[in-house]
Point group: C2
Chain length 482, copies 2
């Protein structure tokens, strides 16, 4: 991916900029030595790296505001960073940017069980939000795979989902309000611990905005009562098409499992070799999980199994206890690790209408042969969020580029069948130039005009989300207008 | 409510503007005679009336685009209108504005059961969306009281809810995508029949934007499989506080009824006198409805009744059949009609944290004595959406103003306890000047800056949502800059 050349004037003023930042932050919160800024040179899209001008680690909304005010005055780009787990390069710095890391901001500010919300600083990790309310048997629903590490700030930036979002929705469905600092240091409040918001509801556009509009420092999150229990069932099918039809029939029947996970044969083989979960060797596996009381679980599973049987499953395994449930999930949860064991891989993140699944898998298979690269498919089938893993050899010249070209073709296919470029990983740098595929010029212009409002100089998280030529043109125009 | 003086230049050009509109619309779609434009002089907030310059009734996105382009060029304000059921004056015209009614645009464009969506023109009424998918046992979840009449366009503009939104969410949770025409005639697509949207998700800010950003002409809506059955239970309590605690306990227990409706004594008395539903005369009534299969219903009701019993109910009546269920809902559903029978009333729409309910009801009671006006409370208790009905006599000089002042105090109280000005009716003209109570200047500025982007000349739905001084200042500045 091409990145814009750094602004020489900013590089020349590094000393002065760092000095000003040190004035407003406590000791140790401004990192400017190259040996230390290297820690911030990439996120989980490790193919791209660039150490930032410096990194700051504020502890409060006030400190974030002070930092942004300085960067605004100095014309310095700012790259907000949660835990750096982005798979799309969402937290990749440029050489002339300040990394604004929220990791120190991890406090719980308020917990209210009667009104079912928690307010936290956004550096708090996803799993530790649930941890903070576990004693009262509550939890926070969105559960991205990286939940042990990823920060709420990043979840909000990418509108993260997870295996259980079929039932509980993604971040935007569980976010009630935020405190956000604009690029000029202004602090605004959006939403809150109440239903709806009078006037324009800006919360929806903040969620998923990938650090383009401001830095979210505090968040009010919906918490839910833990279900009494949960139970998965494993189903094996002789063809992807059949598994796809089974998913469609479950959804159409009005049963609402918390998760429907789909794995194709290459994925099953890799998982089984790695985790030895006892998966049957077949073309497609589904893990369907339901939750509730014993009676609710039994009733839902009965319906689901009845539907599955109509599709001649080669395997149908209901978990009888915790241990069997654990084994059913074991393979799926180690899928990404399993792939990493045998290959380098690129994890894609398109969405499609659930009914297009068989067609899309067939086309991916054909393209896999054309490109000469294997693909394993893991899929949140209930809500149409695909995660094709393209396997390649990073040490072989040209393979990364080939893999990227193949990935782009898969995402174009997703758009073609009525889906979209990204379900939960975000656009970042990875998909910015594919935005032309998804949107007509007028659609993109509307988005960029909203960005203009919040960040008129285009300083926030530069060279991402929007096609590079478009965002660079916007940034140059802003500079020229000064 | 004060409205700005009409623009004399526009009134003088009426003939020319109407002629241009007739050029792009079929015969009969432009209404300009005063005898006919009177039909558009108000919405359901009938205290305020003003016939528009003219009204247009386009049949397609293309016609809407042509109309808006002309109005943009002529500098004429446009007031979008669904079915005119707004209780907040959301569709109130100004004398110099064109009413753009979407009532003719009521076609179903696409139905997809496998992927659970329907695409409609936005003039279609809420109930007829469910009607279009009823044969396959699907339904569209948001169910405002006015669902027989209100249009999807208005539902999107106000982010409407309904009695069942505790379980299914409000419009924003069931809206997947829209086609929207900007003020200059540009057509944009937001979201679609897929999960999430890459880049900035503008769909969230469009939903609930009260016609300030564009005219939504087509919508993709989530449809759901109808539950097997539903059953309400009626509970009477000796005090509002006790009923409030019972609601809190049900929510905390993790049971998710589809509806929890609350009525206080003045409301019970009026409903009973009107509908004779056999309600017990007590201080507070709850109607709690659960749905699912027989087994699910039984299990949920068992838990709910167990919780209710801990609060010493004076009545606990489970519906044993359809007829009894109908009788339990009868009173609640006729609440507004019952009130209208005995009095003029103003229906408010604030939200509060559920746990503040007893405090808020006590304060409303005290204020009711201070103002000398009675209040009956109907409340979507599950999600904290209050509908206090202030009773007054419209024929008595000064009573409307007194009622409006009292209403404003109640809404300020909602904000004070951590709630907000409106749950589903919108700000309209009714609450625009209370926006200062809800938002700090920087918060309001962020909203108005977004409005600037979509509607730089502030022509769309003028004098609403934002405080009048602020929106008029913005409009004058835009005029001066031309």
């Amino acid at each position: 991916m091409e990145m814009p050349a750094p602004n020489a004037s900013i590089l020349a003023r590094k000393h002065q900029i760092v000095a000003r930042l040190r004035e407003v932050l406590p000791e140790g919160s401004v990192i400017s030595e190259l040996s230390e800024t290297r820690a911030y040179e990439c996120d989980a899209l490790t193919a791209y790296r660039c150490p930032p001008l410096c990194a700051v680690l504020p502890s409060s909304t006030e400190e974030v505001s002070a930092v942004l005010k300085i960067c605004f005055e100095e014309g310095v780009p700012v790259v907000p960073r949660g835990s750096g787990t982005s798979l799309a390069g969402g937290a990749l710095p440029t050489a002339d940017s300040v990394i604004l890391g929220v990791a120190k901001m991890n406090r719980v500010l308020e917990t209210d069980y009667a009104n079912r919300f928690i307010r936290v600083q956004t550096g708090r990790t996803n799993l530790s939000v649930s941890g903070a309310v576990a004693e009262e048997d509550f939890f926070y629903a969105p559960d991205p795979s990286s939940q042990l590490a990823c920060a709420i700030a990043g979840n909000i930036a990418m509108n993260s989902g997870g295996a259980h979002c079929l039932k509980y929705g993604v971040t935007t469905n569980n976010l009630m309000g935020v405190t956000m600092v604009l690029m000029d240091g202004t602090v605004i409040e959006l939403g809150g611990a109440h239903l709806d918001a009078p006037g324009l509801d800006l919360l929806g556009v903040i969620c998923g905005s990938e650090g383009q509009l401001g830095v979210v420092t505090e968040a009010t999150l919906r918490i839910l009562r833990k279900p009494e229990g949960a139970r998965p069932v494993l189903m094996g099918f002789a063809a992807n098409e059949v598994a796809g039809e089974c998913v469609s029939d479950i959804i159409k029947a009005g049963v609402l499992p918390v998760a429907i996970e789909f794995m194709d044969r290459p994925c099953i083989e890799a998982c089984e070799a790695f985790a030895k979960a006892g998966y049957p060797m077949c073309e497609a596996l589904l893990i369907v999980e339901v939750e509730g009381s014993e009676a609710e679980i039994a009733e839902q599973l009965e319906k689901i199994i009845e539907i599955a049987k109509r599709h001649n499953p080669v395997e149908l395994r209901e978990a009888r206890d915790e241990d069997e449930a654990g084994r059913i999930w074991l393979g799926r949860k180690s899928a990404f690790g399993a792939m990493g064991q045998i290959n380098d891989y690129m994890c894609l993140d398109g969405t499609i209408p659930v009914s297009s699944l068989p067609h899309v898998l067939r086309r991916i298979g054909e393209m896999s042969e054309e490109f000469g690269l294997k693909v394993a498919n893991v899929f949140h089938a209930g809500d149409g969020n695909m995660h094709p893993l393209i396997l390649f050899n990073a040490n072989e010249e040209g393979q990364l580029e080939l893999c990227e070209r193949f990935g782009a073709e898969i995402l174009k296919l997703c758009v073609e069948v009525g889906g979209c470029l990204t379900g939960e990983h975000g656009v970042g740098i990875e998909k910015r130039d594919l935005m032309h595929t998804q949107y007509a010029p007028a659609d993109l212009e509307a988005q960029m005009a909203v960005k203009d409002v919040f960040d008129p100089h285009w300083l926030l998280n530069p060279a991402k989300v929007f096609p590079l030529d478009a965002s660079e043109a916007r940034r140059s125009a802003a500079l020229a207008a000064e």
